[in-house]
Symmetry: C2
Subunit: 251 residues, 2 copies
């Protein structure tokens, strides 16, 4: 068995609109996919309102516990965009109009012959000492301080910022997975599957019911970082399903 | 101004599959819509893994802080369905095979000529003293203890359980909202909108950028519990957009 490295992350999705139902979040699922792909374990997600105290509490709760924190939302130019202030407060540093971001934005608005309003200048605010996260879509950068990475809520911009970050992340051994489709519901497979899990402690076996409006079937997902452990558990899951089918055919 | 009543809620969505990206959650957005409709403020959502300590911590963090807690996931028949155990531990009570749930499930499997396996019996487990939440889709009940309401992760079942709960909830004054569409981006409206928000402190004005691949526009959402306050703020937002349009036409 090769050496296994585990890297963890949490997400804080920020915005009243996610909690009112007005906007259906798309960033959590995208981050989850990307983390799984590169080999980082997303352990926890919190959705909080545009409320400074709530953002500070969530950021501080997760940043000491996981290797990486990713946030979405609240970095635009309007009064309800308070993520830069909240993250500054969480780290106990000043929130400044960062000079490089001011230059980038100023030049962009000049090119487009648009006024660089006080509202737009808000998009250059970040905690003192933060690094930029480039924004190829609409210029206004995200930022990172410590292990916290602050990105936009608009999915196109969130995705572009994450793409820019991924190559620089310290990643773990990818968690491998295999899905075995079971025509039987969880009630039929639950007991034997518990045995399979006990026999393969180095894997994590999940069971996900699917309901088509009439009957339940199950997707069984075997996860492991070691390919041999994965293959052995997958084989036992397949044998288990075959055994149930055989018993029914006889019965 | 009529008397305003505020009722709050949090959600805990439980499941490894939500954090791996395998399943894209649909229950958070649905709960958010329903809470807004009935007049309950959803203040916070946490997504946690199928991990007893993580579930217990999340439940205990939110149940003392909000009027209602709703959970999704982890109440099926397999080894990774541990929500009943975790909620029991959070409340410090025994997790039992509840007799009425055993009778319901036993009768259902007998009608369908199916074996009531040990795995299926797991679905009758709940904290001692919990009330049932009926499940018209697939019989196995959810449950409520204190202010915590435990529902299934399969969206059809989650929605049916929530429908059963809604009429019995103690609801607040509904939060009313109006959306004003602005053809201008947040950078153009940010400064004047801050003024509108200052002049209408009894409303909450949110600003949501939309990006069509080329330009940004903005949905401005005014929220209030008092209809007159809502109408006054909405009128000022519309006047603000007209003023920007007029200035451009002149300019």
């Amino acid at each position: 068995m090769s050496s296994i490295k585990v890297v963890t992350a949490a997400m804080v999705a920020i915005g009243d609109e996610l909690l009112s139902g007005r906007t259906k979040d798309k960033n959590i699922g995208h981050l989850a996919d990307m983390m799984t792909m590169v080999g980082i374990d997303l352990k926890e997600v919190r959705i909080v309102a545009d409320d400074e105290a709530a953002i500070v509490e969530a950021i501080n709760a997760v940043r000491s516990r996981y290797d990486y924190v990713f946030t979405s939302g609240g970095i635009g130019p309007t009064h309800d965009d308070i993520t830069a202030d909240a993250v500054s407060r969480a780290f106990g540093v000043e929130c400044i109009y960062e000079s490089e971001a001011m230059a980038l934005l100023g030049a962009m608005y000049e090119r487009r012959n648009m006024e660089f309003t006080d509202a737009r200048k808000r998009m250059a605010r970040m905690p003192l000492g933060a690094r930029h996260i480039p924004n190829p879509v609409s210029t206004a950068p995200g930022f990172a301080i410590g292990n916290v990475h602050v990105m936009a809520g608009v999915p196109q911009v969130f995705q572009a910022m994450l793409d820019a970050l991924l190559p620089g992340l310290n990643v773990g051994s990818p968690l491998l997975s295999r899905t075995v489709r079971s025509p039987f519901g969880e009630g039929d497979i639950g007991s034997p599957l518990t045995e399979v899990q006990k026999n393969h402690p180095e894997t994590s076996i999940g069971s996900y019911p699917k309901f088509d409006g009439k009957t339940f079937s199950t997707d069984i997902v075997v996860r492991a970082r070691d390919p041999e452990a994965l293959a052995a558990a997958e084989a036992d899951v397949q044998a288990m399903i075959q055994a149930i089918a055989d018993a029914r055919a006889k019965g």
